[in-house]
Every structure is written in C-alpha cells, then in structure tokens.
Symmetry: C2
Subunit: 375 residues, 2 copies
C-alpha cells in the first residue's frame, strides 16, 4: 500500500443539474461527490432548466453555486436555437461556451449552419474585444466546447479554424474522431479534446449487461474505438467525467430512460487502477486531470491544494454504498479498483477526510466573477 499526493483535480465536464433537476443532483451534493473523487474544481454544463443562456440566468446559477458549493465551480453558458447568442454580454464570466451539435439530454441542440456560423463569429468578435488571456485568465474568453460526434466534428473544426476560436471537443469516443483531431492538431488547429472514463473503461460489450445504466451520449463505443483512444493518448488533453446523474427510478421506469451516468467519484480510482496496471503514469493523470484543464480553460491556481490517495495492493470492488452523488449509483459498481481518496486539502484547509465532508456549503468559489460580475 502506497499513498500519492496529487494536485487538486479538475473535472471539466459535469452536470450538477441545478436549477431544474435538483432531485438528481444540486451544487451541494454534486460538489461533495467531487471532493470524494479528489476533484477540487468542476466546470458545470448549461443544459439545466432553464438553460444557462443569458447573462441573468448565468448570474442566477452562479448565486446558487456560491451558496452551496464545497469546491470551486466554473459555469458554461450555452447556445440555444431560440435565444441564439443572448449570453454574449456575460461571456467572460463563463468558463466557456458549450454548443451541442449532436443529440443529447435537454433541448440545446443547434442544427442550422446559419446559427452555428453566427455563434462562432460572435464568440470570436467578443474574444477580440476582451482579449484571449487563457492562462489563469482574469478576463478574456474561454474556448468553445462542443458535443460534436461523427460528421459534426469537422463542422466545428472548420468554424473554429475559420474564426481562430479555440475549440475543445468534449467526450470523444470514436476512432474516426480521435484520428481526425490528431490530424487537425498536426495542421496547427487550436483544438483540444477530452475523453471520459466510461469510454476508456467500458465498450459496447458492457452495454447489454448495464442496460440503461450504461446508456449515455455519446453511447459506449466498440472495442476498436476504445483501443483507438488508448493508442492516441498523446492526443487526449483532458480526462473529464461527463458526470450526468439520473435517478435509478428514472433509469428503470421510463420507456426512454434519460441518457447519462454519474462519474465524479469513480474517475480517479479508474485512472489509478490503469496506473497500477501500467497503462498510465502518474504524470499522465496529473497532466490530464489538473494541468491541462487549467490551461485549456484558463483556470486560476488553487494554492495549497492537494489530494492524498491510497493505492491499495489489492483492488477493492467499487461499492455504491460509499457514494455521495444524490443518485447513489455507478456503472462501475462491483468493478475491482485501486485508489481511494483519503484526504482533500483546498487552499490549506482539509475539506474531505475518510468519507466525511469538512467544508461548509458555500466555501467553494464561483470562478470568473460569475456570481458578482463587474457592472
């Protein structure tokens, strides 16, 4: 048994469900789950109810987060078909703009060239106006993050390149996609990407066993797709969970179960297990869960912040019992994993230890001044 001390992790892709879906998760339960997973910064997606599509809605969500969060929270703004780029005046208070061009949970899918073209053009214009300082930026704009599967990926690569807007491709899942991103990087495109633990550790071969608990967007991919992700590890900038909780009742009862699975608490154990197996190094993990997300989104530093992780000699089957997410389940239940988060220290304070949360609601910070934007 050894212990590792890692920097506080960033999960750059979570759905904490507030406002609108608090029965699934909220800013308290979601950030507690984050700490339990060694994550001290989360970036929260805009497909809540209502969607985070205007400056007022961003401010409102930021105040909810500021009151409840126990780790730091950045918030995405989102593009909608009917409100287009209404978020734009508040753009520098968001961690980035999220655009859904592929099928997903919620109602934010953009499917016209006219609107998508406008979104990239206006984001680029705003970015020019406020400057692009991405490294611990105090103002400036984040990247455009896209859910863009299959043919929607080159769409976004093209618009990003034409307007010189940094593009971040979320949850890449297929060989065709990771190989295209490699080519774009080789041609000097300003593109980064992330991969989820579930696409790294599960495939279509697990889907039947898991049923609705293995259903998310993008869906679990083939073993060949999974192999391509591991082969192209150098192209993957971030690991991020796409933590997307739904209740077991919703997953079981509805004729069309909502897609999405929780992931905040299992990411680090899965990655540590891959490390024990020799498939990843500690540096691989720290780069993709801490340094790179900070660089991609221009996140401020968290001084005196680290995670102590116990690496057991023998793997322990993952148990839903210990989970902090409100929905209390994982697609990895029963999987033998190494890596237990023992203690999390945030800005010098121990905020999590041996399964107990020691931080008060509201002790987490909301990033980029979203809660109290300058006039």
């Amino acid at each position: 048994m050894t212990t590792l001390r890692l920097p506080g992790l960033v999960d750059a892709h979570v759905h904490l469900r507030e406002p609108g879906y608090e029965h699934k998760e909220d800013f308290y339960t979601g950030t507690v789950a984050a700490l339990a997973g060694g994550v001290t910064t989360v970036l929260d997606m805009p497909n809540t109810q209502p969607p985070t599509a205007t400056p007022a809605l961003l401010r409102e969500k930021a105040r909810l987060a500021a009151a409840k969060a126990v780790c730091d929270v950045g918030l995405f703004v989102g593009a909608t078909n009917d409100r287009a780029d209404a978020y734009l005046p508040a753009a520098q208070h968001a961690c980035g703009l999220k655009i859904y061009v592929s099928d997903t949970f919620g109602s934010l899918r953009i499917d016209s060239l006219d609107l998508l073209h406008r979104l990239f053009r206006t984001w680029a214009g705003k970015a020019d106006a406020v400057g692009y300082r991405m490294d611990g930026r105090e103002q400036g704009l984040g990247p455009i993050a896209v859910h863009a599967e299959e043919l929607m990926l080159p769409v976004c690569l093209n618009l990003s390149h034409l307007y010189d807007v940094p593009l971040h491709v979320v949850h890449v899942s297929r060989r065709s996609e990771i190989e295209l991103i490699r080519t774009a990087k080789e041609r000097g495109y300003r593109v980064t990407c992330e991969v989820t633990p579930h696409h790294l550790f599960l495939t279509t071969e697990d889907a039947a066993r898991l049923g609705p608990l293995g259903d998310m967007r993008p869906r679990l991919a083939t073993p060949d797709d999974q192999a391509a992700l591991w082969e192209n590890l150098d192209v993957i900038d971030l690991f991020a969970t796409d933590h997307a909780p739904h209740t077991l009742a919703e997953k079981a009862a509805l004729e069309t179960p909502p897609p999405g699975v929780p992931g905040l608490e299992t990411m680090l154990p899965l990655l540590i297990t891959a490390m024990v197996e020799g498939r990843l190094t500690e540096d691989d993990i720290v780069a993709r869960c801490a340094h790179n997300p900070r660089r991609v989104y221009g996140l401020p530093a968290q001084p005196d912040t680290w995670v102590d992780v116990v690496v057991e000699d023998q793997p322990v089957p993952w148990s839903n019992e210990r989970m902090k997410t409100r929905v209390g389940w994982s697609p990895f239940a029963g999987m033998p994993l190494h890596g237990r988060v023992e203690r999390v220290t945030l800005r010098g304070e121990v905020v999590y230890e041996d399964g107990r949360v020691l931080a008060a609601p509201g002790s987490g910070r909301v990033l980029f001044g979203a809660a109290n934007p300058a006039a």
Copy 2:
C-alpha cells in the same frame, strides 16, 4: 439586335443519365442539348446505374460517351458506401471525384465520418503520387466536388483543408453557404464553388406554381438566399446547370417525383437576359462559364471554338418546342428571355446552326483519356 461571339461554354455539372436511365437522356441527346445551349464541354456526374465507382465502370461509361457525344465530355468518378474508393486507380482519368454528403437522387450518399475522412485522405495521397497539374492537365487529379448543403459544407471545407485537396462546392443555394465560402476563401482555403441558373432565377415563391417541375436538390431557396447569391457574385467561380432530366411522366405520375430539372439549353439565355437587365456583364458570364471551369478542372483548351449568340431587342417566351433534351421541358417555359444560340463552332467545324445539329455522334472527345486509359 446584336450578336455576341463567346468562347465555347463549359457546363461543369450535368447528368446525362447513361448508363441506366437512357429513357431520360443519353450521351447523344444530352450533348445535342449542350450544343443547343452553346456548351461545348460537359462534365458528367457519376450517379448513373451503375454508379461510376470503379475503373472498369469509368472506362465503360467513357466508351458510351465516345461513341455518341457531339461535344467534349469529362466524367466524374463517385464514392459509394459499399465500394468506398474503388475508383482510385482511375482517378486521373476522371475530371474529379464527386461526393454526395447531402440528400440527392440515387444511392451515393456518404454519411460516416470514417469513410468521408478516408475519401479525402486517399484522394490527397493519389494526388501527391501523380501531381496536381490543374491547368490543362495531362495527368494529375481534379478537385473533389461535393454536394454539401448546410452543416455538410463545413465538414467538407475542413477535410479539404486538412488534406490540402482542392474542393469544389456544387450548386450552392443558401446565404449561409455562400457566406461561409467567402470566409473560407478569405482564409486562403483552396475552395471554389458553382451556382445554378435555377437558384439564381427562381425561389420558393416559384415553387408552388412549378410543383414537381420546380423540385430539385438543393431545393429552391428563399428570396433572401437568392439575393445573397447575387450579392456574392465575386465568390461564385462557376455557373453550372445541374442538368438533371426526368420525364414529365415521372414528374407527374410518381407519388415522390424524382428531384431534378433540365438546364443545359436555358443557362445562356437566362444569363444573357440578366446581362441585358444590367445584372451581369459579358465578362462575368465568360469567366464563370468558360475560363473558370477550365481552370478549376484543368480542362484542355478547345482551339477555334466559339458560340454565336443573338441578343434580341425584345425577349421571347421560352418554348419547350425547341428543346433538344430527350425530356423536352423546362421550368423556365414561358419566361421571356433574350439570347438565342445561332451557331456553335467546335475545333473549326460548325457543329450546330439554327436549331440543327451538324456534328456526327462520336465527334465529341472524352477527356483525360478515360475511354482508352494508359495501362
């Protein structure tokens, strides 16, 4: 009444329907219609039955054309989902590769990133192997021509840019599309585009009146889209007809009439009419119907080849009676037009005069050695 002498026109986008649909058109009737429209070179699309998807099928089609054509003919090869890039060994004998990524007549639509990525990559590799001599090329490869509407346009722009393959976008019809192409050209992309007369001269406001006779892909667009084409005339490299004949019986009888309209004989009269109205200059027409298509596709010169056109003082309603296409109809029937092709001279021989074809079947040439490829 004046007479203009223009160079022999190129129609870089026609469907002469042979083999497989000879009841609609064939290489004789189609090239006779071409001469009647002042066109001395046509580039024929691959969505015949069978599709022009292998070296053997290209050679077979070339022999049909060589036996019947009365003007020069270039042939596209086409990508198919099941035969992928089987055409590749014959690539330099085609005028270019046609890829359908949007909905069309026939079965050639490509809709996976994996395959589309491969098509651009292999075309680029072949082009590297044989050289890109595009100006009256004797070998080398043509561009990839794409039917790519809406979000499929940035897909193709991206793949073309990543692999440095010249992209030609056929029948652009929307404001969003022509504006995106402008931006791509400004960024130095190797992209050219064409617009059809029917999108320049008809809109959704004509669609109800025309019914199935105004149905094609892309569909007639809005007046605002039409205005965008005229506003961006400097971005339009070619005018091309997308001559796509179907019989009146097919258009009338079928529950889902096949999309497409004839266009070879009406293009020049429509453009001359716009010239008389002051919307185009003679140079605009010659650039887009002769010089530019020769440059884009690397077509060989046709010495001593010209078209004599009478520009009547009073417009004459277009009559289907005079038409040479086998299907014998036009969506422009009854429209008052200036511009009647009086005489066509091809390589010093008068091949068309006052409605009569003087050239023998097989006197037209098949370009790029497609009929008798080098071993």
